[in-house]
Symmetry: none
Subunit: 399 residues, 2 copies
């Protein structure tokens, strides 16, 4: 019996409310000058007060040493084993542009690339063409139908696009056409099992058609496809936890992830997340509130920018705490230290506040302080069971 089966068995509906505040890329590394991380540098009186009233710890999104992408980082926070539910690249890209994937659709990530006269790839990213150019090229390819399979081609950014195949008899087990290095010809898409023969054939016909359509374009005269995948059939959070969950996230990728697990996605905008929470507070019993800026600042290596954004979240906290949710969880989906300019494997600080949380001695919300927290260090997939328990939404297991 896994985590989700256990939750299904013992979760109950109750009026109590849970708010899960995800500060994307929250964890950091200390600045060599001050010895303090971004979170430790930020002035966060409200989060510190909540840490003092609550219980703290550190979570591993996947497991020690593993740097997660946004998808596994969030799935784990929602209680889904991120290794078991490893979501394909094509699906992730489709989620990222808010494309409404149907259950049987197959999505692939596409690159516009440059091919020379011999048919060899000389630039896998076609000189990173402008997003406007990408949009224009996608329009040339969008809406094709091949043997009854409808094909959607949608721009992502620069040379990146998504292609979605919608039709009967398709299967995602096919190889990439992207050779992943220059100086080689694009590969034929191959079926990795007999059920995927039709998918491979349709994909190759699409690629052949794209080659013709793009022949006179420069530098983007060819496409490379990879990560063919189908939206996984995840049990919804309502099925698992008997919650009525809502997502408050301004960026498409996170809205898409929330939809995957059956959350109602509320309309919001950057810096409007806390207002949206207040406006919809009576209608749901679980809120996933996502703050993106911190991760972007970390990826840009902007230590001070990340500090400022954490301080902004802290200033907004009274708007959350004044609603008096039964359980408040504040954490991140992974660490994004400005020093590493990217996601990292470091465990993420977490604080949980509820009337029943058995508080510890931690009086501030920081990486260092969380080491001594009463929650210890634990897998992110256990955050939801803890939140549910503290909301008194779980019955006893076993007699």
């Amino acid at each position: 019996m896994d985590n989700l089966d256990l939750m299904k068995q013992i979760s109950i509906t109750s009026p109590s409310k849970i708010v899960l505040l995800v500060i994307d890329g929250l964890g950091g590394l200390p600045s060599p000058k001050t010895g303090k991380t971004e979170l430790e540098t930020a002035n966060t009186p409200n989060l510190d007060k909540l840490a003092a009233k609550g219980i703290c710890g550190l979570i591993d999104p996947v497991s020690p040493g593993i740097t997660p992408g946004s998808t596994p980082g969030h799935l784990a926070l929602f209680g889904y084993d991120p290794v078991k539910f490893n979501i394909g690249r094509g699906v992730v890209e489709a989620l990222g542009i808010d494309f409404s994937l149907e259950p049987e659709d197959i999505a692939a990530r596409g690159n516009f690339c440059t091919m020379d006269k011999k048919g060899l790839v000389i630039d896998r990213r076609a000189g990173r063409i402008a997003t406007e150019k990408c949009t224009e090229l996608c329009q040339l390819l969008d809406g094709l139908a091949i043997e009854g399979v409808k094909i959607f081609v949608r721009p992502v950014r620069e040379h990146r696009f998504v292609v979605v195949f919608r039709g009967k008899g398709l299967a995602p087990e096919v190889s990439d056409s992207d050779p992943q290095q220059v100086g080689m010809a694009p590969r034929a898409v191959k079926a990795l099992n007999p059920q995927a023969d039709r998918m491979a054939s349709i994909a190759n016909k699409f690629i052949a058609q794209a080659k013709v359509t793009l022949a006179k374009q420069h530098p983007a005269n060819m496409v490379l496809l990879r990560g063919f995948s189908r939206r996984p059939n995840l049990p919804t959070m309502s099925e698992v936890y008997k919650l009525k969950p809502a997502a408050i996230a301004a960026y498409p990728m996170y809205r898409g992830l929330a939809k995957l697990v059956g959350m109602q996605v509320l309309e919001t905008a950057v810096k409007e997340e806390f207002t949206t929470l207040k406006q919809n507070y009576t209608d749901y019993d679980f809120f996933f509130l996502h703050i993106k800026g911190t991760d972007s600042a970390g990826e840009d290596g902007d230590f001070n920018g990340k500090v400022r954004l954490i301080e902004e979240v802290d200033k907004a906290m009274p708007a959350l705490t004044s609603l008096e949710p039964d359980v408040i969880v504040v954490t991140g989906d992974h660490s994004t230290p400005a020093l590493l300019k990217g996601h990292s494997w470091h465990p993420v600080p977490i604080l949980l506040y509820s009337k029943w949380c058995r508080t510890d001695g931690v009086g501030e919300f920081s990486e260092q302080a969380c080491i001594s927290g009463g929650l210890g260090r634990f897998p992110a997939t256990q955050v939801m069971p803890l939140a549910m328990a503290n909301a008194l939404k779980l019955t006893k297991f076993g007699a």
Copy 2:
């Protein structure tokens, strides 16, 4: 997907170097007089300095409460699930004498024993005959060939020996001949599945032959065999981690274990390990450096001896740190408290140093201090993922 599959998927080759220093049986228990363990008693300025710069914690080699043998203790440190890869007794004994097992060989652990005139075992260890006598008796039995199966019989120590069967059509699924108690006759070896019929038959013929050969010996007039097993087919560390790994271990057992996971075993001697590291430092990107003495002192109940040996390791540390490896891990394969005179289940202190380790407040390397370490308490199988991450040898998992 298990740990190793995940590592296979995301590991990359890079010039960074990892040194894993295993101080065998490192963890201890406090002396009733001083309240301090062996490690806490030892004067270890270099390890303490490294702990202050690094991050500390406690590892469970198998899981809380489980006392591991040397094999599971080391396999876990190398990232291999020690319960899944449970290596048979025969193979472990063969590794222990540096016998070069071929993939199809079947090894069994042997005892010389004393049998009375009725054919009942009256001493399972033949009065613990001297190793010299054991060697002599092994020579009488070594080199037999039965139905095309070549049989190697090699002494271990006292009454213990290894027998290796090399030939076609053998399988390890056979029962022991050792009845495990006195007053009973040796058992016939039985096939536990039809594929093992030939192995059982050959083993029984070997035992019958040994009985004849040893008939006039006293007290060692018979053999008992157990733990028939084949060298497991472990994925190598190169396959899993894309490392070029080297082992620096003076004792055969640990050299054998290192070979099992595909390490290059370097020539070294006791107290020469750090010199060997320096001499070979440019040629590999991963070093397993094994210190045996601490475990032996613990097994002998020699508290002060273990303290002295830990201090010797500490004195040698500058030879390691001056090489400036990107990642240094110092830990043990299990605890061997002098007070228990044997391996124990207590978690083992670990320190990890790298530029990216997010240091904690721990300023000394000891069982007590490690409780508050930023690594927390975690399974030993996660040590390699952590070391790899800190060496920037892992890419992101998932999109």
